[in-house]
């Protein structure tokens, strides 16, 4: 296993004794594997990503990458956010090579010239070669997100973390980006942990989909996707895909119904407590 997550929990200090954001999370990712986390909003899928990235500390449990415990954020775990967040004062090329200007990435064996050439070839691969010296605001939303993807890949991360990266894009651009990501991952052999609330997106991209529930956030099912590779978007008409999609919707719907009934129970409890206090 490249990435191992064991007994990971996260709770935020609160007065009202809310359930933890993440109950107990356990899963692993093999080298070169593409795994998605799918679930309703508030299920903690983005929290898992932030924990792996090292942006927030966990409450308990451990995360290991290549056998060593991950600490603070670092370039070994590349991250793509929902918003491209390119630096507006840098050109596209300067943005994607920003990581190379940092001390942490100037390690022996990392030849800056080789990595810059890699940046150019990646820009070429995502169709941004002609926009190398443009500023981000001169690009469309999809182009910006492609640049953000290249920026995360330039420093050769061991794993790529993607937090609803296509969530803010229009439907057509979104499909283009999915195709592009499939192509890039095949070429680079990248290991990806992908967060989305889009079931179809998760299925078409992933080797495995982890389905989550909310309150508390937990993984309730693991769905291996047996569609052959290389993948393309036409496979959404494949009987395997159709069946998996139905199964996933079933899992999510069931959970939502349970969440609502749970909420009713909780609110009933609060009401009862209120009455007790008044008495």
């Amino acid at each position: 296993m490249l990435l191992m997550i064991e007994a990971l929990t996260k709770s935020y200090p609160s007065r009202d004794g809310r359930p933890p954001a993440l109950a107990e999370i356990n899963f692993g990712i093999e080298e070169g594997e593409f795994v998605s986390l799918v679930g309703p909003s508030g299920c903690g899928k983005s929290t898992i990503l932030a924990l792996v990235a090292g942006l927030i500390p966990s409450s308990t449990g451990r995360i290991t990458l290549d056998g060593s415990i991950v600490g603070k954020a670092g370039a070994d775990r590349g991250m793509v956010f929902q918003q491209p967040n390119l630096f507006p004062w840098l050109t596209v090329f300067e943005n994607v090579t920003f990581g190379l200007t940092l001390k942490a990435n100037r390690i022996p064996g990392n030849d800056a010239r080789v990595l810059k050439a890699r940046a150019d070839s990646l820009l070429e691969a995502v169709g941004l070669a002609a926009f190398r010296d443009h500023y981000p605001r001169q690009l469309s939303g999809g182009m910006r997100q492609r640049a953000a993807l290249v920026r995360a890949l330039v420093t050769k991360p061991r794993i790529l973390l993607m937090d609803e990266p296509f969530g803010a894009l229009d439907a057509q651009t979104r499909e283009e980006m999915q195709e592009l990501l499939l192509h890039l991952c095949r070429r680079q052999g990248t290991t990806v942990l992908f967060v989305t609330h889009d079931v179809e997106e998760a299925l078409i991209l992933s080797d495995r989909v982890l389905v989550m529930q909310a309150h508390p956030g937990a993984i309730i099912a693991e769905v291996p996707v047996s569609l052959q590779r290389p993948r393309h978007l036409d496979m959404r008409a494949d009987p395997i895909f159709v069946e998996l999609r139905a199964r996933m919707f079933g899992l999510l719907r069931h959970r939502v119904r349970k969440d609502i009934s749970q909420m009713v129970v909780n609110e009933g409890m609060a009401e009862a407590e209120n009455r007790l206090r008044q008495a």
Binding site: W89, F98, A104, Q138
Partner: protein, 265 residues
């Protein structure tokens, strides 16, 4: 077709500039009519000819050059000192909550004290030489600038810092390569706004027993009821402020092309 009185609509730029020219011409015509027409006494409102004569006399005698040089030196001295002090402190306040907690309430308290009220103290502490005038301008601008710079720094998107973190940046690298770079246009704008205030405090500063300077000359002219000189110097101060403002805006657009409204695709 566009309408000139359209509510919250763009108008063609030549129309915009024509309106500016028309308004300026209107003021000039009104001025000429009131003064040459003899409707007001010259002591209240001197005619353009009077102001022109006063101006040529002051320029030829070298008084204007001396006043101008002195005042520019004072504004420059006080303002540069304020920049040197406020940028590092503002950066620290914007990046470290503990430093903000230590400094911000004190500055928020001081910023509401009118600068002229400090003058008796400044005379007491710093005497009446050149330094005291620079000090007035420095106090007037530095307090505001520290708070404004720290605001600019605080507003840098947290997401930018997160991106840098996931690429392996240290806090020092984030401060230098992300926060500083993202704040620079805002900081230049803070400087632009405060340079205007520096000129205002100049007049305040030159009330302090000066014997040269634009503000000093205005006060002296007031004692002699020489309104022509007052008008000439007011126009000079206004023009100077406007020139500085335009210079700041142009250099901002040049230094930070990425902030420009239209870059072209």
């Amino acid at each position: 077709m566009f309408s000139l009185t359209a509510f919250r609509q763009e108008i063609p730029s030549h129309t915009y500039w024509t309106a500016i020219a028309a308004a300026a011409a209107g003021v000039a015509v009104l001025w000429c009519a009131l003064t040459y027409g003899g409707y007001v006494t010259p002591i209240f409102l001197p005619s353009p000819t009077d102001v022109w004569n006063a101006a040529t006399e002051l320029c030829l005698s070298g008084i204007f050059a001396a006043d101008f040089g002195r005042s520019c030196g004072r504004v420059f001295g006080g303002f540069v000192a304020a920049i040197i002090v406020s940028i590092p402190i503002g950066m620290l306040m914007g990046n470290f909550r503990i430093i903000e907690a230590a400094i911000e309430p004190f500055l928020a308290f001081v910023r509401y004290m009118p600068v002229p009220a400090f003058i008796p103290l400044i005379i007491l502490y710093a005497g009446i030489d050149e330094f005291s005038k620079i000090l007035v301008i420095f106090i007037g601008t530095a307090v505001q600038m520290i708070i404004m710079v720290s605001d600019v720094v605080k507003k840098v998107a947290a997401d930018f810092c997160k991106v840098a973190l996931t690429l392996g940046a240290t806090p020092a690298e984030i401060a230098r390569k992300v926060v500083w770079r993202a704040s620079l246009p805002g900081i230049v704008d803070v400087c632009r706004i405060n340079l205007g205030w520096a000129w205002t405090y100049l007049i305040v500063a030159e009330v302090l027993a000066a014997n040269q300077g634009l503000g000093f000359r205005i006060i002296k002219a007031q004692h002699l009821l020489n309104t022509s000189i007052i008008f000439f110097y007011l126009v000079v101060i206004g023009a100077l402020g406007l020139a500085c403002d335009i210079a700041f805006r142009l250099s901002g657009a040049r230094l930070f092309p990425w902030t420009r409204e239209h870059l072209g695709a």
